[in-house]
């Protein structure tokens, strides 16, 4: 996978040292305080589960960590980049180059084949079509769905489509993957297979994963969990994170 270096300027911390550091995050939507002072470190290569009741601030937290939302107070640093100091365009560039996303319903482009869906982020990063296709095929193969390469999402099962979404998230070799209920739309057996495939791939590449989940059995695949309640980390989570 060393054929294309997309992120040459990034200093990758050693495994076990913080890759993501959030300090004192506050974020409101109108009168609703979604985040109320969150401090969180996520280590390089770590798989962190973010749990908590609906409306507790989980999604707002990962959107702030990923630079999708800008917090009103506090700081987010990924590697050597202060995300909160970037403007909207710079944050978009950061997401394209260094961050992968996996959503509950894949959100693949319905008119593109699996291969083209996976190659797309590379093309957007300026990689040539031939190299992008070679690399996309490798990731489809790694996630055991080479046979789906020419199919469009509507012709695949939910589990297969989700593997394509994972291949698309990993193809740019991001520093971090943010996954929001990645197996939430799948039955137990399919969900477990998809999750195992994703985690094998990220552990091999030492990619950091922040995984939102309601499901304790999914969270059990993570290295640790934090619980968000009313926009804050629970006391037990702060203790674990310390």
């Amino acid at each position: 996978m060393a054929d294309i270096a997309l992120n040459p300027a990034t200093t990758v911390p050693a495994r076990g040292t913080p890759l993501i550091r959030a300090i004192g995050l506050h974020k409101s939507f109108g009168a609703t305080k979604a985040l109320r002072g969150i401090d969180l470190d996520v280590n390089q290569g770590e798989v962190l589960a973010v749990m908590g009741p609906s409306g507790s601030g989980k999604s707002t937290l990962i959107h702030c960590l990923a630079g999708v939302l800008a917090p009103e107070e506090g700081q987010v640093v990924i590697g050597d980049t202060d995300v909160t100091a970037l403007n909207a365009d710079e944050r978009a560039r950061l997401r394209l180059e260094r961050i992968g996303f996996v959503f509950q319903f894949g959100q693949l482009l319905p008119d593109l084949t699996a291969l083209d869906n996976v190659a797309l982020p590379l093309l957007m990063n300026g990689v040539g079509r031939r190299a992008a296709t070679v690399r996309a095929r490798k990731w489809l193969d790694r996630l055991d769905i080479s046979d789906q390469a020419t199919k469009v999402p509507g012709d695949m099962s939910g589990g297969q489509a989700q593997r394509v979404a994972i291949a698309r998230a990993l193809v740019t070799q991001p520093s971090v993957i943010f996954a929001d209920e990645p197996t939430g739309s799948l039955d137990s057996v399919a969900g477990e297979k998809v999750l195992t495939a994703m985690l094998e791939a990220v552990r091999e590449s030492n990619t950091t994963v922040v995984l939102i989940t309601h499901d304790a059995r999914t969270a059990a695949y993570a290295d640790r969990e934090v619980i968000v309640r009313d926009g804050m980390l629970s006391a037990a989570s702060r203790g674990v994170a310390a």
């Binding site: 304790a216 059995r217 969270a219 059990a220 290295d223 629970s234 037990a236």
Partner: protein
């Protein structure tokens, strides 16, 4: 469930006679299984011996006993220690955790934190089992899955209870 600790917690809500404690225990925790008077008095005697309880002198109560029991500082420390020690997931856990949560509400202690600690303990056990499962043959995986689903059922109860704590505190106070 440790019935002595449940009784100790009830005494912590206010000094009481053994007779009243027995009825209070049955009402809050008995759920069709009343505690025997003998068990109550034996537990109270042990806790006096261990310095967790003291008596406030003999006077007439609602029942035949004349001793009024009060918690000591050592008794309060024991309750705090109990609340801050999560239980290992096990079949009898629900009983023990139920008593802890109810008492935490009655004593205005932090029941949220208690439930969070228990949730972390459960998730730690689930991680342990998940690691075992990933390297096991199918039959063993099925057995581990069974254990995982049981722990998950506890976790659902913890989540549900956590969401209902405000109502529970009010109800406990109303019946207090």
């Amino acid at each position: 469930m440790d019935k002595s600790l449940a009784l100790l917690g009830l005494v912590d809500t206010g000094s009481s006679y053994g007779y009243d404690l027995k009825h209070r225990y049955d009402e809050v925790f008995g759920r069709g299984k009343p505690i025997a008077f003998g068990q109550v008095y034996a537990a109270l005697a042990r806790m006096i011996r261990d310095g967790l309880l003291t008596t406030l002198g003999e006077e007439a109560g609602a029942g035949p006993d004349r001793k009024r029991y009060a918690i000591t500082e050592a008794g309060r420390d024991r309750i705090r220690e109990w609340f801050s020690t999560p239980d290992r997931p096990a079949p009898e856990l629900a009983d023990n955790l139920f008593v802890k949560v109810v008492l935490a509400c009655m004593l205005d202690s932090d029941a949220d934190e208690l439930l969070d600690m228990q949730r972390s303990e459960h998730l730690a056990r689930m991680r342990e089992l998940t690691r075992i499962k990933q390297h096991s043959p199918l039959l063993e995986r099925l057995a581990v899955d069974h254990a995982l689903f049981q722990i998950e059922a506890d976790l659902r109860w913890i989540d549900m209870t956590s969401a209902r704590l405000t109502d529970m505190r009010e109800e406990v106070r109303r019946n207090g």
